[in-house]
Amino acid sequence: MEPGDDLAIQGNAVAGSPASIFAVDVTAAEVVCAACGARAPLADEKAYLHGSVSLLRCERCSAVLGRFRRSQDAVWVDLQASAAWQVLLPH
Protein backbone atom coordinates (compact mmCIF):
# COMPACT_ATOMS: atom_id res chain seq x y z
CA MET A 1 0.00 0.00 0.00
CA GLU A 2 1.17 3.54 -0.73
CA PRO A 3 1.90 6.09 2.00
CA GLY A 4 -1.33 7.86 2.82
CA ASP A 5 -3.30 4.70 2.37
CA ASP A 6 -3.74 3.90 6.02
CA LEU A 7 -7.53 3.86 5.57
CA ALA A 8 -7.43 1.19 2.91
CA ILE A 9 -8.21 -2.32 4.06
CA GLN A 10 -7.75 -5.75 2.50
CA GLY A 11 -9.58 -6.20 -0.79
CA ASN A 12 -11.51 -9.18 0.53
CA ALA A 13 -13.57 -6.70 2.53
CA VAL A 14 -15.72 -6.12 -0.55
CA ALA A 15 -16.26 -9.83 -1.24
CA GLY A 16 -19.64 -9.94 0.50
CA SER A 17 -21.14 -7.33 -1.81
CA PRO A 18 -20.56 -9.05 -5.18
CA ALA A 19 -21.34 -12.40 -3.57
CA SER A 20 -24.80 -11.15 -2.62
CA ILE A 21 -25.36 -9.92 -6.16
CA PHE A 22 -23.90 -12.65 -8.34
CA ALA A 23 -24.34 -15.56 -5.92
CA VAL A 24 -20.74 -16.61 -6.30
CA ASP A 25 -17.92 -16.48 -3.79
CA VAL A 26 -15.37 -14.01 -5.11
CA THR A 27 -13.00 -14.29 -2.16
CA ALA A 28 -10.48 -16.16 -4.30
CA ALA A 29 -11.11 -14.10 -7.45
CA GLU A 30 -8.37 -12.40 -9.40
CA VAL A 31 -9.03 -8.97 -10.84
CA VAL A 32 -7.37 -7.39 -13.88
CA CYS A 33 -7.08 -3.60 -13.84
CA ALA A 34 -8.20 -1.91 -17.06
CA ALA A 35 -6.07 1.13 -16.30
CA CYS A 36 -2.62 -0.42 -15.69
CA GLY A 37 -3.10 -4.08 -16.55
CA ALA A 38 -2.10 -5.38 -13.12
CA ARG A 39 -3.64 -8.73 -12.21
CA ALA A 40 -3.96 -9.48 -8.53
CA PRO A 41 -5.97 -11.58 -6.09
CA LEU A 42 -8.92 -9.70 -4.59
CA ALA A 43 -7.28 -9.96 -1.18
CA ASP A 44 -4.30 -7.95 -2.42
CA GLU A 45 -6.39 -5.09 -3.81
CA LYS A 46 -7.35 -2.06 -1.67
CA ALA A 47 -10.85 -1.70 -0.28
CA TYR A 48 -12.57 1.36 1.16
CA LEU A 49 -15.87 1.28 2.99
CA HIS A 50 -17.67 4.57 2.35
CA GLY A 51 -21.05 4.58 4.04
CA SER A 52 -23.13 1.97 2.25
CA VAL A 53 -20.60 1.67 -0.60
CA SER A 54 -17.84 -0.92 -0.87
CA LEU A 55 -15.16 0.41 -3.17
CA LEU A 56 -12.23 -1.54 -4.61
CA ARG A 57 -9.06 0.09 -5.97
CA CYS A 58 -6.12 -1.39 -7.86
CA GLU A 59 -3.23 -2.17 -5.51
CA ARG A 60 -0.77 -0.81 -8.06
CA CYS A 61 -2.33 2.30 -9.65
CA SER A 62 -5.36 3.01 -7.38
CA ALA A 63 -7.84 3.02 -10.30
CA VAL A 64 -11.40 2.23 -9.17
CA LEU A 65 -11.86 -1.46 -10.00
CA GLY A 66 -15.37 -1.61 -8.66
CA ARG A 67 -18.07 -0.05 -6.53
CA PHE A 68 -20.94 -1.96 -4.94
CA ARG A 69 -23.96 -0.61 -3.10
CA ARG A 70 -27.08 -2.38 -1.96
CA SER A 71 -30.07 -0.29 -0.95
CA GLN A 72 -33.52 -1.43 0.17
CA ASP A 73 -34.77 -1.91 -3.36
CA ALA A 74 -31.75 -1.85 -5.66
CA VAL A 75 -28.23 -3.00 -6.23
CA TRP A 76 -25.62 -0.77 -7.86
CA VAL A 77 -22.56 -2.27 -9.49
CA ASP A 78 -19.87 -0.22 -11.21
CA LEU A 79 -16.86 -2.08 -12.64
CA GLN A 80 -15.40 0.95 -14.39
CA ALA A 81 -11.69 0.03 -14.28
CA SER A 82 -12.03 -3.74 -14.12
CA ALA A 83 -10.83 -5.38 -17.32
CA ALA A 84 -11.80 -8.81 -15.99
CA TRP A 85 -12.65 -10.84 -12.89
CA GLN A 86 -11.61 -14.48 -12.81
CA VAL A 87 -13.82 -16.34 -10.36
CA LEU A 88 -12.94 -19.96 -9.59
CA LEU A 89 -15.96 -22.27 -9.42
CA PRO A 90 -16.30 -24.90 -6.71
CA HIS A 91 -15.52 -28.48 -7.79
Binding site: E2, P3, G4, D5, D6, L7, A8, Y48, H50, G51, S52, V53, L55, R57, S62, V64, R67, R69, S71, A74, W76, D78
Partner: protein, 198 residues
Protein backbone atom coordinates in the same frame (compact mmCIF):
# COMPACT_ATOMS: atom_id res chain seq x y z
CA UNK B 1 -15.85 39.03 7.95
CA UNK B 2 -17.62 36.49 10.11
CA UNK B 3 -20.38 34.50 8.56
CA UNK B 4 -22.74 32.32 10.55
CA UNK B 5 -25.39 30.18 8.99
CA UNK B 6 -27.65 28.04 11.05
CA UNK B 7 -25.50 28.38 14.15
CA UNK B 8 -26.14 30.58 17.13
CA UNK B 9 -23.58 29.63 19.77
CA UNK B 10 -23.95 26.72 22.17
CA UNK B 11 -27.30 25.29 21.31
CA UNK B 12 -29.11 22.66 23.27
CA UNK B 13 -28.61 19.61 20.97
CA UNK B 14 -32.08 18.31 21.86
CA UNK B 15 -33.53 21.52 20.45
CA UNK B 16 -31.62 21.31 17.18
CA UNK B 17 -33.61 20.94 14.02
CA UNK B 18 -31.67 18.37 11.98
CA UNK B 19 -32.25 17.44 8.35
CA UNK B 20 -34.35 14.27 8.03
CA UNK B 21 -32.52 11.01 8.72
CA UNK B 22 -29.48 12.70 10.30
CA UNK B 23 -27.98 12.29 13.77
CA UNK B 24 -25.55 14.52 15.65
CA UNK B 25 -21.87 13.75 15.95
CA UNK B 26 -19.33 15.58 18.08
CA UNK B 27 -16.33 14.04 16.38
CA UNK B 28 -15.28 14.66 12.81
CA UNK B 29 -15.53 11.31 10.99
CA UNK B 30 -13.09 10.72 8.14
CA UNK B 31 -14.61 9.10 5.08
CA UNK B 32 -12.49 8.38 2.10
CA UNK B 33 -12.89 6.57 -1.18
CA UNK B 34 -9.21 6.48 -2.02
CA UNK B 35 -5.67 7.26 -0.98
CA UNK B 36 -5.10 10.42 1.06
CA UNK B 37 -3.56 13.04 -1.23
CA UNK B 38 -0.35 14.56 0.12
CA UNK B 39 -0.15 17.95 -1.60
CA UNK B 40 2.24 20.64 -0.38
CA UNK B 41 1.23 24.27 -0.49
CA UNK B 42 4.20 24.86 -2.85
CA UNK B 43 2.76 22.52 -5.47
CA UNK B 44 -0.92 23.28 -4.82
CA UNK B 45 -2.77 25.06 -7.64
CA UNK B 46 -6.42 25.97 -8.14
CA UNK B 47 -7.63 26.43 -11.71
CA UNK B 48 -10.98 27.63 -13.05
CA UNK B 49 -11.57 26.66 -16.67
CA UNK B 50 -14.46 28.48 -18.35
CA UNK B 51 -15.63 27.91 -21.92
CA UNK B 52 -14.47 31.42 -22.84
CA UNK B 53 -10.85 32.55 -22.72
CA UNK B 54 -7.95 31.06 -20.86
CA UNK B 55 -8.10 29.11 -17.58
CA UNK B 56 -7.28 31.18 -14.50
CA UNK B 57 -4.85 29.65 -12.03
CA UNK B 58 -3.97 30.58 -8.44
CA UNK B 59 -0.96 29.48 -6.44
CA UNK B 60 -1.18 29.09 -2.67
CA UNK B 61 0.45 32.52 -2.16
CA UNK B 62 -1.98 34.10 -4.59
CA UNK B 63 -4.93 32.58 -2.73
CA UNK B 64 -3.53 33.83 0.59
CA UNK B 65 -3.51 37.36 -0.84
CA UNK B 66 -7.28 37.19 -1.48
CA UNK B 67 -9.75 38.46 1.14
CA UNK B 68 -10.51 35.66 3.62
CA UNK B 69 -13.62 34.99 5.70
CA UNK B 70 -14.35 33.17 8.93
CA UNK B 71 -17.21 30.76 8.34
CA UNK B 72 -19.24 28.92 11.01
CA UNK B 73 -21.68 26.39 9.58
CA UNK B 74 -23.38 23.05 10.18
CA UNK B 75 -22.31 20.20 7.89
CA UNK B 76 -24.32 17.15 6.86
CA UNK B 77 -22.81 13.90 5.54
CA UNK B 78 -24.86 11.53 3.40
CA UNK B 79 -23.74 8.73 5.75
CA UNK B 80 -26.17 10.36 8.20
CA UNK B 81 -23.99 12.37 10.57
CA UNK B 82 -24.42 16.08 11.13
CA UNK B 83 -21.85 18.25 12.87
CA UNK B 84 -22.92 21.61 14.24
CA UNK B 85 -21.02 24.87 14.31
CA UNK B 86 -17.91 23.89 12.39
CA UNK B 87 -15.45 26.80 12.06
CA UNK B 88 -13.46 27.39 8.89
CA UNK B 89 -11.38 30.08 7.21
CA UNK B 90 -11.19 30.51 3.49
CA UNK B 91 -11.94 32.50 0.36
CA UNK B 92 -15.42 32.79 -1.13
CA UNK B 93 -15.86 31.29 -4.60
CA UNK B 94 -17.38 34.66 -5.55
CA UNK B 95 -13.87 36.13 -5.25
CA UNK B 96 -12.34 33.51 -7.56
CA UNK B 97 -15.13 33.99 -10.09
CA UNK B 98 -14.83 37.81 -10.09
CA UNK B 99 -12.97 37.89 -13.41
CA UNK B 100 -14.33 34.68 -14.92
CA UNK B 101 -16.63 35.04 -17.89
CA UNK B 102 -18.93 32.08 -18.45
CA UNK B 103 -22.37 31.46 -19.84
CA UNK B 104 -22.42 27.84 -18.72
CA UNK B 105 -24.57 27.10 -15.66
CA UNK B 106 -22.90 23.96 -14.32
CA UNK B 107 -19.60 23.40 -12.57
CA UNK B 108 -17.53 20.25 -12.24
CA UNK B 109 -15.24 20.38 -9.24
CA UNK B 110 -11.94 18.48 -9.52
CA UNK B 111 -9.56 17.25 -6.86
CA UNK B 112 -6.06 15.85 -6.65
CA UNK B 113 -6.47 12.07 -6.93
CA UNK B 114 -9.18 12.32 -9.58
CA UNK B 115 -12.30 12.92 -7.48
CA UNK B 116 -15.04 14.99 -9.11
CA UNK B 117 -18.42 16.36 -8.08
CA UNK B 118 -20.99 18.44 -9.98
CA UNK B 119 -22.93 21.50 -8.85
CA UNK B 120 -24.95 24.27 -10.46
CA UNK B 121 -22.79 27.42 -10.60
CA UNK B 122 -25.41 29.33 -8.63
CA UNK B 123 -24.73 27.04 -5.64
CA UNK B 124 -21.08 28.10 -5.64
CA UNK B 125 -21.81 31.85 -5.78
CA UNK B 126 -23.71 34.32 -3.60
CA UNK B 127 -21.71 33.61 -0.43
CA UNK B 128 -22.67 29.94 -0.37
CA UNK B 129 -19.31 28.25 -1.03
CA UNK B 130 -15.62 28.72 -0.17
CA UNK B 131 -12.17 27.27 -0.69
CA UNK B 132 -11.18 26.67 2.94
CA UNK B 133 -7.70 26.06 4.36
CA UNK B 134 -8.22 26.35 8.13
CA UNK B 135 -10.47 24.31 10.40
CA UNK B 136 -11.13 25.15 14.04
CA UNK B 137 -8.33 27.70 14.17
CA UNK B 138 -5.54 25.59 12.63
CA UNK B 139 -4.37 24.43 9.21
CA UNK B 140 -6.81 22.02 7.58
CA UNK B 141 -5.55 18.48 8.25
CA UNK B 142 -4.82 16.34 5.21
CA UNK B 143 -7.40 13.73 6.29
CA UNK B 144 -10.06 16.42 6.06
CA UNK B 145 -8.87 17.60 2.64
CA UNK B 146 -5.93 19.85 3.45
CA UNK B 147 -4.21 21.90 2.38
CA UNK B 148 -7.51 23.16 0.90
CA UNK B 149 -10.97 21.81 0.22
CA UNK B 150 -14.25 23.10 -1.12
CA UNK B 151 -16.93 23.96 1.48
CA UNK B 152 -20.55 23.97 0.31
CA UNK B 153 -22.39 23.47 3.59
CA UNK B 154 -25.94 23.72 2.26
CA UNK B 155 -25.45 20.45 0.32
CA UNK B 156 -24.42 16.99 1.53
CA UNK B 157 -20.74 16.97 2.36
CA UNK B 158 -19.64 14.80 -0.57
CA UNK B 159 -20.04 18.02 -2.61
CA UNK B 160 -17.40 19.71 -0.42
CA UNK B 161 -14.53 18.11 -2.32
CA UNK B 162 -11.33 17.38 -0.40
CA UNK B 163 -7.94 18.29 -1.96
CA UNK B 164 -9.70 20.55 -4.46
CA UNK B 165 -7.65 21.75 -7.42
CA UNK B 166 -10.06 23.15 -9.95
CA UNK B 167 -13.44 23.84 -11.47
CA UNK B 168 -14.42 23.40 -15.09
CA UNK B 169 -17.57 24.99 -16.47
CA UNK B 170 -20.05 22.75 -18.31
CA UNK B 171 -23.07 23.35 -20.46
CA UNK B 172 -24.94 20.40 -18.95
CA UNK B 173 -25.18 18.97 -15.43
CA UNK B 174 -22.81 16.03 -15.91
CA UNK B 175 -22.43 13.62 -12.98
CA UNK B 176 -19.29 13.46 -10.84
CA UNK B 177 -17.64 10.55 -9.01
CA UNK B 178 -20.50 9.65 -6.65
CA UNK B 179 -23.27 11.06 -8.83
CA UNK B 180 -22.34 8.59 -11.60
CA UNK B 181 -22.86 5.84 -9.04
CA UNK B 182 -26.45 6.75 -8.27
CA UNK B 183 -25.98 9.55 -5.78
CA UNK B 184 -28.33 12.48 -6.21
CA UNK B 185 -27.13 15.12 -8.69
CA UNK B 186 -27.96 17.98 -6.31
CA UNK B 187 -27.83 16.60 -2.74
CA UNK B 188 -29.99 18.90 -0.58
CA UNK B 189 -29.94 17.41 2.95
CA UNK B 190 -33.18 19.16 3.94
CA UNK B 191 -34.98 17.37 1.08
CA UNK B 192 -33.01 14.18 1.83
CA UNK B 193 -31.67 14.00 -1.72
CA UNK B 194 -29.25 11.14 -1.04
CA UNK B 195 -29.65 9.02 -4.15
CA UNK B 196 -31.06 9.41 -7.64
CA UNK B 197 -34.81 9.36 -7.45
CA UNK B 198 -35.00 10.66 -3.86
Amino acid sequence: VTISRGFFGHRDPSAVDLPPGQHLTHGFPVLTAGPTQQISTEEWRFTITPEIGEPQRWTWAEMMALPAEEITVDIHCVTRWTKLGTRWRGVALDTFFDDIETYYEYAMVHSYGGYTTNLPLEDLLGGKAWIVYEYDGGPLHVEHGGPARLLVPHLYFWKSAKWVNGITMHRFDEPGFWERFGYHHYGDPWREERHAGD
